[in-house]
Symmetry: C2
Subunit: 238 residues, 2 copies
Amino acid sequence: MVPYAPKQNPKSENRNAKSPSLRHDQKLEFILRTSARIFAEKSYHSTSMRDISRATNVSLAGLYHYCKSKEELLFLIQDNCFGRVLERLEERLLEVDDPVTKVRIMIENHLSFFAANMAEMKVLSHEAESLRGEMHAHVSTRKDRYAKLTRSILQQVQTQANGQGVDLTVATYALFGMMNWIYNWYDPAGKLKVSDLAHNLTQLFLGGFLAGSLLDAATIKRLPKQTENLSIWRGTTS
Amino acid sequence: MVPYAPKQNPKSENRNAKSPSLRHDQKLEFILRTSARIFAEKSYHSTSMRDISRATNVSLAGLYHYCKSKEELLFLIQDNCFGRVLERLEERLLEVDDPVTKVRIMIENHLSFFAANMAEMKVLSHEAESLRGEMHAHVSTRKDRYAKLTRSILQQVQTQANGQGVDLTVATYALFGMMNWIYNWYDPAGKLKVSDLAHNLTQLFLGGFLAGSLLDAATIKRLPKQTENLSIWRGTTS
């Protein structure tokens, strides 16, 4: 697949302070940041380019100087986020050998990054399926790489701990679930600091992932099977 | 607060098979189930009553016989889900004393219910803020009651285990996060059965919640503090 290429700023290799290209990049970032906030507030589909024009105080014609479409704005937000969080993790893991330390770093990296970008986090969760074609494929490739890296770290932990316990797929998505859910409840400006949040979630996840087998067998025995119909609707009808 | 009262079917107390009231209720459920599927596919805001009319093959005038507005459809979906999952949990907990068993039941109850109602689960997550006024307040009251019940069970576990470990608020939302995230990845018709999913998530969560303190102190020591700017955007600009 040829990766999707966003509209290029021809002078972007020259980033001196106050240069035209820096001003262009900063303005684009301002537009993206504002768009992420509006998409998070009222959803991507309910947002028009006119809403973004109003919130940024950039004319419609001006907006199209920075991006081809509303879809490209969404693409750039998603691509920037997954690109940055992945790149930062890969850098931080470079000199680390211990798998458990890698998990700690992964959790801290993800939470500190997204606590600083909560609107973007909500947009990533809610608008995962809103991109199409090449843009969707490009973001999916990055996301897959991030998920695979995380899974491989968990596999290393399991191997080191003599491969017992929780299913690796369930563990990987449970970890992303407990971290990504924070956009629903966590206030980065509140009493609980990001470092405390990361510490608690690390303790919870690693504790369960490493120590599941320490639990008394009676504690984790299965519940009796339920066979009732659980759809909230009673059955099909015409 | 006076709870929001959805349009009543005057004969709904009389539910004999094939009675007009049963037919009314079944038709309403069919409309709600179909609406949940469409809201999950294309978002609440992008869905019109005309879309629902087309998908259900019920005329617009017919739809308004069952509900006052699109917002009432969303309300009934959310209210039904939280009502049913909470009621079912309260019933199942009636004769249980052991806090750890209560957690196991809570997880199994939530996962088996939402695995049977995946479209509704996505709608609950994505459209939590789409209701307003009394309808929003009514659903929020139910949701709070469910979250508080869950938190109180976790508190009982912590008390029994001599009150160490993970922050109770973080643990409660981490549990909801790992469970609710399944609408992003889990296929109830796939290889992993709901009972296995529940077993794995129970092991992971309870293991971490109970056994966090068993971990070697070096394993859960904090990472050095990072002070860089983590916003994906470099800074504000006009």
